[in-house]
Symmetry: C2
Subunit: 259 residues, 2 copies
């Protein structure tokens, strides 16, 4: 099943994608819902980020290549993280597919993409074992963890470096039937492929991350976890167009503009 969140007449709706049509529903995909009589064509939709989560989790440094390249750049030896220390991102930064990533006025003008798998939670969960971890997952989507590297490195927190408005493109939809091992993530900048990696080749996979998280934090329906990215991450400037594609999950495409 494929779920899309979209806007009509200033209101957000969820709908089920069936071919090139979207069947509007009342309610939430992971809760009670009923089909309304309304139906729209996918191509006509203004698609919104598929979720505005109660809590927005993000795993950092979660791929080997990414980690090794970061270490090489700073002259460090590669020390892989011992445990999955999950961070947070902020809802103010979420935008849907097609919306512009805006470079803030006082940025030096370069942002970097990070193409990521997004896990969307469908059931309240605490103390899940790795074996049972996927039982709370509703589905998967695509995120672009846009980062202003100067702020990311210089500020004490990631507040603007990773969470300025428009820095979290997400979508286009949520797929519920996904084989993680079959996925491949591709990033294109202005149509040219700049990154390709096996999506599930993580240091801490989805099961481990959920099991670790739920030792301390209750996951709620609608929460989401962004799973990190692999290298390379290149600079984007105003006028660029960035696409993140994950096999079978669609393509998240956003232009970059200056404020």
């Amino acid at each position: 099943m494929r779920w899309v969140r979209y806007e009509t007449n200033g209101k957000a709706h969820y709908g089920m994608v069936e071919g090139d049509q979207v069947i509007e529903v009342d309610g939430l995909p992971w809760g009670e819902h009923t089909r309304t009589g309304n139906q729209v064509t996918v191509a006509d939709l203004r698609i919104l980020p598929p979720v505005i989560p109660p809590t927005f989790y993000a795993a950092g440094l979660n791929y080997m290549t990414h980690r090794k390249k970061m270490a090489a750049r700073t002259g460090e030896t590669v020390v892989l993280p011992k445990q999955s220390d999950i961070g947070y991102r902020a809802n103010n930064a979420l935008i849907g597919p097609g919306e512009a990533i805006v470079i803030p006025r006082d940025s030096a003008g370069k942002l970097q993409y990070e193409g990521e798998l997004v896990v969307i939670i469908g059931k309240k969960a605490k103390h899940l074992s790795e074996k049972d971890a996927l039982s709370c997952v509703f589905g998967y989507s695509i995120g672009n963890d846009v980062s202003e590297r100067i702020w990311q490195r210089g500020d004490r927190t990631f507040w603007r470096g990773k969470n300025a408005d428009t820095f979290k493109p997400m979508g286009p939809w949520i797929d519920t039937d996904v084989n993680l091992d079959a996925l491949e993530t591709t990033v294109r900048l202005n149509g040219k492929e700049v990154s390709r990696f096996k999506t599930n080749d993580m240091i801490f996979g989805v099961e481990v991350t959920i099991s670790t998280l739920t030792r301390y934090n209750t996951l709620y329906p609608g929460d989401m976890i962004w799973m990190g990215t692999d290298e390379p991450t290149l600079d984007m400037v105003a006028g660029d167009v960035v696409e993140v594609d994950i096999t079978g999950l669609g393509t998240l495409k956003n232009p970059v503009i200056a404020e």
Copy 2:
């Protein structure tokens, strides 16, 4: 005006406090709302955290004394932050007054309190000057930024050190008529005063913080900003009771228990 959020029959409501009575409303305090015919006595309420925000901001290291003592402990010279780098906390951790702060099973067993002023946003805001910053504020409440210092220092992020379930007590309500300069924050541990400071004696005050934040991030109605704390912050163990009191805003009291 004083607003409280509470639970009756498994549903969350907002109400206006008038004396020892609460007038239930439909809608949100910062949006359209109407009085319902229902009325309850404050003493009978199960009070909830006053807000589950779209985005949960938190200013760290925002008082002089706190900063100086932390530096002394680590042998550093005091370097005050040059700018207000705001962090994030997570909604899963929010609890109301009276609810137990739970020490997770595999914690060494000591948590610390941080008594904080909470600013609640009532209007969408971007690019506010310091002069206009307070125009987006709906009201104020009290938060206790409970921290597990071993995890806070050892993990790469604050995910469990500051955001494990129950680590963010908040309440008891929201006050809209507040003179910031008249406020004093007091923390009591098992009835004994352990901390007292001028609430508005911040390095980066509410106006500066909002003005800085809104250069990059849009604030939305219901967002909140926790403003940091001053020293000392002592250990709490299972069996303790912690109270944070801010002049005129009430008292936030929570017991500490082991998981």
